[in-house]
Symmetry: C2
Subunit: 201 residues, 2 copies
Amino acid sequence: MSKEPKLSFKQQQLIVRENAIVDATNNLLAKKGFDLMTMDEVAAEVGIAKASLYKHFPSKEALAAAAMIRLLENALAFVRGMETNLAPIDQLKSVLQWALEIRLRGGLPTLPTENTSLREALLNNTRYISRLMDLNELMGELIERARADGKIRKDLPTEVVLFTIYARSCDPTLDYLHSNEQYSGDQIIAFLLSTCFDGLS
Amino acid sequence: MSKEPKLSFKQQQLIVRENAIVDATNNLLAKKGFDLMTMDEVAAEVGIAKASLYKHFPSKEALAAAAMIRLLENALAFVRGMETNLAPIDQLKSVLQWALEIRLRGGLPTLPTENTSLREALLNNTRYISRLMDLNELMGELIERARADGKIRKDLPTEVVLFTIYARSCDPTLDYLHSNEQYSGDQIIAFLLSTCFDGLS
DNA sequence: GTCTATACCATGATAGAC
DNA sequence: GTCTATCATGGTATAGAC
């Protein structure tokens, strides 16, 4: 019986350590992207030896996948925790705003649109795919409800709207405007939300 | 006097060869991005030895810069060659459509938003910067004229509109929809143009 | 499980013959 | 200017001691 707390404590230590590793990975992924991020940098940021990383994660791809999965789980938690009395269109805007705020703080990795080793690893990662499908479903429902309210154009297929919102969360416009130092973070996010849902015209 | 044609012929050969190199670079940049593109691949696609590449371009960055400069010059030629009787807003849409069509054919490199060695090389490349400023100026004039026509929202600063249009030319939504095989290229471009200027709502 | 040290490989860049 | 062959670097991954 007295063994249980000790084991749990060790496991907690492990979880804390691995969380720190994933934190560092997340930041580096957001700052440099998968290809330019090196395992040396991750190890240095965590403060452990590079070889120790490989005791926790078998490869660079697996490490990045863990970061992406945690991001998706955070997104799912946010979507599920939103005020249900908010109009669907406002919930959609709220999700995009949440993602953009994280990105402004340097915490949102850029997705791998191209054929890199990471993309393949993610497609073979059932946990990642499962979370992604869950998120797609939740967002798809919101989009269809917003369309029923007349708040989303009826001539756009749901998946076009979905992908467009996803793409806005990694919109390079944010980087351009941010590096200009001319607008505040809130202003930049307002611009992006506005151009996404209302257009330029 | 008889020397002139010979020299010109040799120079023409050189230009043709370097054009082939830049073509290959352009395709690989569009397909894999700067970091994942290797000089071996470029050499293989051109059909020459890697060492020969370095007789034409001193570094990988210089090679990529040449591709980006040619792209900018093509863009400038397109903008300057547009029908002047077309309304400014339609000229803007036409430019974005032109870029998206190139991208669908796999010929538009993704810009380096992050701090890679390419970005630094481009910022120190006066030819590149000069072309970029020319394009920004032409596009900025179009945007302001379109705004005067009431076709662009007056609450958006010109540079926000400009960056947003640039960003749409590399929108990952195009890749998502294209890999789905569910829509034709023209449909995808129509979706992107429409969501860019008219929004989702 | 953490460390130091290292194997192994990909890649950017170069040397030197022709 | 093109080639073959090679160097130098840096990065993923691993071995083996503690």
